[in-house]
Assembly symmetry: C2
Homo-oligomer: 491 residues x 2
Amino acid sequence: MAKVLTSKEENYAQWYNDLVIKADLAENSAVRGCMVIKPYGYAIWEKVQSVLDGMFKATGHSNAYFPLFIPKSFFSREANHVEGFAKECAVVTHYRLKNSPDGKGIIVDEDAKLEEELIVRPTSETIIWNTYKNWIQSYRDLPILLNQWANVVRWEMRTRLFLRTAEFLWQEGHTAHATKEEAIEETIRMINVYSDFAEKWMALPVEKGTKSPSERFAGAIESYAIEALMQDGKALQAGTSHFLGQNFAKAFDVMFASKEGKLDYVWATSWGVSTRLMGALIMAHSDDNGLVLPPKLAPLQVVIVPIYKKPYELEKISEKAAIIKGELEEKGVSVKYDDRDTHKPGWKFADYELKGVPVRLALGPRDLEKNTVELARRDTLEKETYPAGRIAEVVTKLLDEIQENIYRKALKFKEENTFHADTYEEFREIINNRGGFVMAHWDGTAETEERIKNDTKATIRCIPVNAKKENGKCIVSGKPSSRRVIFARAY
Amino acid sequence: MAKVLTSKEENYAQWYNDLVIKADLAENSAVRGCMVIKPYGYAIWEKVQSVLDGMFKATGHSNAYFPLFIPKSFFSREANHVEGFAKECAVVTHYRLKNSPDGKGIIVDEDAKLEEELIVRPTSETIIWNTYKNWIQSYRDLPILLNQWANVVRWEMRTRLFLRTAEFLWQEGHTAHATKEEAIEETIRMINVYSDFAEKWMALPVEKGTKSPSERFAGAIESYAIEALMQDGKALQAGTSHFLGQNFAKAFDVMFASKEGKLDYVWATSWGVSTRLMGALIMAHSDDNGLVLPPKLAPLQVVIVPIYKKPYELEKISEKAAIIKGELEEKGVSVKYDDRDTHKPGWKFADYELKGVPVRLALGPRDLEKNTVELARRDTLEKETYPAGRIAEVVTKLLDEIQENIYRKALKFKEENTFHADTYEEFREIINNRGGFVMAHWDGTAETEERIKNDTKATIRCIPVNAKKENGKCIVSGKPSSRRVIFARAY
């Protein structure tokens, strides 16, 4: 099979797009900015959902479902929120169509105009806090720890599959607490859940930190984010967790009576990850042959391909393959035996490489003779032959090893592409020529941040939570700074 | 605790609404016709989803995701479909808001009008078949067996929680086949999946059959449905599976080359169940004390309530409860130990009855002395005391028995409320005074069907697949008929 992907080297953006399309993950739809998530891509998202959902439940959260539509006026209630979210959005103005008088199709029925327009949710803080108002009277009703799996719409002008689409799938946690401390604790708990998930399941090392005020979620007091580094040296925000203070409680008048009978506004958090994670997962590990998936999130972990010329060979190979498949499935490994006669082994090899199946086993007549199996691992593309009797044990260990290996590789890449800059000149040189995370001193002002962004397109990705104290001078203004922040160009 | 529900006898509709609200299943939202599904209600829906999803996968289907929005023109492509679906719907006309010049809130930006309006999907045949066009060239690309879990919107004027809401959650299967026979087989396979699910998991006996032409899905050649009987004698359509013929393939120009190289249009099916199932589940088994849930779909199967006066009593009871909880969990039973000190045991008993938890265990000081546990089953409200050592075994058997018992009860109700009518007078008497399923001969015309509907509000629920041949005369026209069909008033 000829190479089907543009190489990363040649054109990274094209490589990514080719990969998403050719590996059958997603494609653009007939509706501008909206994608179709294809079965293979969706199967990965289902794995992501299932693991995260378990982690949310283990930390005490339940799922619920709130309306798709939000009355327009709700957005005006929280001053910052409206600036951030109510502008580029899908607006429902009518609730009926009718036959066109000219007999050509259907038109909007102007008699069916809504009194108040409805916005397709870009995020659900407003409708949820409007609902919480009815649920919360006293401290006994707190905390509320809810999550919602849903679709949301933000009218993006320039879209890219998974990374930025008008409609996307996500989860949004919305919690309500009696104290500020508890809400902050929750905010941090959830950013930790996200970073654990990224590192242990996606094999994606991330930087965890707070956002600068100008990059905060619209309506938040503090926003935490995890930031990952892609292979082109650009950062990708992979998840956020927000401490919302009492902003939404005040906007929607949600008060509770404390144990002592005192009335106070409720404290809030919200946190979310989206199908954007799919973009991160794809870009972080893949190569010019296609997708490289961490075994823990691969819908299919092992494929067995028979190599044969004669029907009686296939028969014997199939018997052997069934045994191996059974042994692997007993160990909890997902396996497919691909005996389709419509495609040649070489085509199948390339296709499973493209789709990132972690381990490929091949069985030919000579393997039967010698009682061996040829094993190819997707991450390194190395091949080795093993005794058939040991293969289940070898594969289960190897899946763990691949998971670790791609994490280590991504970690090494992140470390090698994290730079310190002490002057603005140095900073610009790195951003322009090398990319990556640039750790630099910043005076804490929006002006400096803005200037750097205008000059270099780099933004503050986060102020790392684990950053060590270090006295220095802002690379732009020279004013004193007590720790470095992470800059990068970002998706 | 005083009775919190209106009794069924007194006002069935009010009883249902009270139950949905008081058992914390769902509530109306600030957006007309859209509901909030509360955590307890959503937990039941998650069980439904998880079981059905497994059944879909076991029958060879994968999940995927298609856009929320559908270009208006797509609806005009299939003539019947547009009549059925494109009328009462949410229409997106603009993609931006702006600050109001008077400084009061935000208004629609008239400069951001869409060239073509987008409809929030009421069902996805059109957008999916428009996509399939690009996926299908030859018989090798078939069958396509996809399902989507999604929200849909139909602008209903009179809404009722779960039963009829503007937005609801559902799954929609959309399959593409090379032959008519295969598509029909798939249609029937999926209605069987639904009836299996209804009977084995929801403990809900159903009638399976085809719809009369006037009740068919807009765009279908044949529609299969499962119809359940509610306790007020009204029918509820619980799931449908449609054979769409080549209608959508023709509308979206989806052709394939057969093995012989002949071009033909692709054959289609679609099938779905929705959060309406929640309405059926709630109405089918519940009583004036609240919800009665089949154990297989109960988010919580067993609750243990401690009864104590002194703290040292609670301590000992808690030790015992932990042992029982552990034993039950080992057998795969979900258990909660409710030792909240904010509520009395009597309040908890009533609350878990309201929420339909199948089994309640109570542990008091006397139980400790005698090494016993008091067990109450929700379906019959019977109480019995068992040796603590046997309780895990007793409960696991009892859960199966409850599942069977509520199925048998519902089946008995359906049988006792299925009537034969041989004259129109008899038919009207039954429909008006008793309700239930009425099996009667029908001449097969839309006119008769319409007349019966106008006279009695009863519709043909289905033409049962298992109906025996029986020559008779139409109750209205007296024309010959070869089998009875099922009439009922319906939700």
